[in-house]
Every structure is written in C-alpha cells, then in structure tokens.
Symmetry: C2
Subunit: 212 residues, 2 copies
Amino acid sequence: MGAPARRRRAPKGEGDRLRDEILAAAEHLLIETGDEAAVSIRAIADAVGVTPPSIYLHFADKDELVFAVCQLEFAELGRRMEEAGRGVEDPVQALKNLGRAYIAFGTEHPAQYRILLMGKRELSREDFESGTLPGMEAFGQVVASVQACMEAGAFAPGDPFLVAMGLWAVVHGVTSLRITVPGFPLVDAEVLIDHVLEVQSRGLTARDGQNE
Amino acid sequence: MGAPARRRRAPKGEGDRLRDEILAAAEHLLIETGDEAAVSIRAIADAVGVTPPSIYLHFADKDELVFAVCQLEFAELGRRMEEAGRGVEDPVQALKNLGRAYIAFGTEHPAQYRILLMGKRELSREDFESGTLPGMEAFGQVVASVQACMEAGAFAPGDPFLVAMGLWAVVHGVTSLRITVPGFPLVDAEVLIDHVLEVQSRGLTARDGQNE
DNA sequence: TCCTTAAGCTAACGGCGATAGGTTGTCGTT
DNA sequence: AACGACAACCTATCGCCGTTAGCTTAAGGA
C-alpha cells in the first residue's frame, strides 16, 4: 500500500463533494477501528487521498467532523424506535419496545454512542431542546408513549416528561455500562434488560399514589 | 511564573516520595481543570518540578497514572455510601440513601467519574469481580442492602445480585447523563432522583409476582 | 576517599490538531 | 484562442503530546 492514490480535484461548483467523501471515510474508520483515537485528521485525509489541511475547508475542527458522523448514524435511532413501537396495541409493551430498541442500537454502535452521549462534547442546552441531537427526536416518542400509558390507565397519572426522563436515564445506564464495562452484566444481558424494564413498568403502574 | 522551581532530589531510599508528589499534582490538575486532556505528563512534571521522563520511573504509562488518581478518590465512595446507609432502620430507605449517595458522589467528581466509569479504559472482568475497582466494594453494599429488603419482606424475593445490577444501571444512568448533558435534567435534579428511586422501590415491592 | 547505584536529566522520535500562505486547475469572459 | 479570477487543494510549519534511549549527578556505605 504505497500508492498515495491521489484524488482528482473536484470540478468548480462541487467542492462540497469532498465533504461527503470525508464523512464517509471517517465513518468507515470509526466503525472499522471502533476507536475515536484512530480516527485522526491525518488518517481520514489519507483515506480520502487528500492532505490534512483540506479537511478544514469543510469542517471547523475535528470535533465538528466526528460529531457530524455520529449525527448521521444516529438518525437511524429514531427510525428503529419508531418501528419498534409501531403496531403494538398494549401501550406499556410498546414503551418497553422503545427501551429495548434504544439499548440495542446503542450497543450496536458503541463508538458513536460513546462520542454522542458519553463524550466530552459539551452538548448545549439548545442542542438538547431543539432536537439538534437526533436522539432527542426519539425522546419525543418516549414522552408520547408514556402519555399513552397514562391515558390508557396503565400508568398512574403524572408528568410524562419527568417519567420519560427517568426512563431515559435507565436505558442509558444499561447501555453505557454495557459499553464501558466488558462483560457487563455478569448475568445475561437480556435478563437484565427484561428485569429493568419490568421493574420500571411495575413501579409506574397505576395503583395507590400517582407519579408526582 | 518563570522560576522552574526545581525539586530537590529525594534521599536514597525514598525515591517513592516522588510517586506521591506526582499523584498529588495530577489530582490537583484534574480537579482544577476538570479536564483529563489538561492533565498531560508534561504539565504534571512541571507542577512537581521534575522532567517528563521521571514520571515513567513510577508509572508504566499515563493511563496507569490517571487510573491511580481516580482510584484514590473513589476510595471515598464506599465510605460515603456506608455512611449514608448506616443507622437507617427501614431497609428500603437505607437502599435509597445508598443510591442518593452514589449519584451525589459522581456528580461532585465528574472528571474522575468520567475516567473510571465512562472512559475507554478497558475495565477487565477481573477488575470488576475482584474489587480492584473501589466502586465494586460499594456494589457489595448494594447487594447486601437489597438482600435486607427482601428478607424484611419489603421487596419481593428474587436474585439480589440481579436487582442490584439493575439499581446500579439506574443510578449510573442518572449520574452519567448529568455529567454529559449540561442542564440535565430539565427538571430539578432532586425531583428526578426522588422519582427514579421511588419508581424503583415501587417496582421491586413485594406484591403479586417475584423479581425473577 | 572513592565507588556504587538510585534518582533524575538531556535529547530526540513519531504522531497529533491546526494555521499561514502558496499553487494549480477550471471556467466564464473576451 | 487567450486570459484572468477564483475555487480547490497543497507545502511547510508550529506547538503540543506520550514515550524511549542513554547520560549525569548526588547520596551513602566501605
């Protein structure tokens, strides 16, 4: 692998073509190696067949590039969750399916999950609220699903937003521990996931009090 | 700040004295800046008044150093949790207190929590089981506390280890989201924590079935 | 006094993200 | 067909990083 494989310069109006090639190369590198550290500006440039400074024609810095890559992949999270909940008539079961889909997706994309949801990138409050984070579109699904559970009388009445936030924390906890701690959990993952979701649904079930 | 402030060479038998100074300097840097990236070998060496290679007389590499720093601080987690649960006669309340203490500690030491529990450092399964991780001593407390809840009839019978694992995921989820997402949760943190712990305890309460 | 050896240093390597400023190919204009 | 402008990309370099090989110096016993 000595040949530099120089890339042909893009025609005049289509400088942005390089942008897509960069994103593709970075994504490939990230998935291949599973390590953000291996995705260096130099390695990306090399893969594309271009010199490092050219990257900066399209991205302000490395963080922006990596973030863009993860955003692209995370667009699928919303779809996966939507699919998981669609057509399930029992609202509680539908909600559980959302959680299962979330955990599965995160586990299947550990490097990206790490960068987006466990990284140093300071997620601004705006990102969080305005749905710049693709994951936050999915959060809306959870809120709606919780509300459906409450309206069906399956869950005790309460603030769906608060409940959804709690659920997010739970599935994120499972996902992120699975990513960080090898061999977590020491029991079968599916068993833990079933258990956790079951505890959540029992804890939220309409009974005596309400979910304040 | 021009003076290099050279450190005096340690007497013959006490070369390990430098080790402690390095750990102290690294800890100070980490807390001061809150950023692992700012804790460079060079910065540490500079703070101690020594040259970078001297660090390697006491630590194999940077990871080992940083890990050692975090371990030192995390030794307190066990104490804090122990203290939080001690003398509380209601076992469920005691368990909740453990969770609260965990979240509080993690939130107060974000940089360290990030490195130990959200970092790339591949926690070996041995670390996890043998309690090399100081946090795992704390995990034992949780298992015992869960068992107490079951024996008191407050929780449905089941596998305390599984239940404790689920609880860990929950408190870790809250902690790590608080660290990663600024302004999380969009509701008051205490409200969310109360909610989450309440849902857990309700979901685990002895009622019809058991916690399989 | 001298000699061993622990304790720490100097110099350097390769890799990183990023920037300043030059080159070259493409395209509309004449 | 020749030209000039500008987009697209490159060369050279800076300052940082972790890490290593090999040298120096001071401490302490003989």
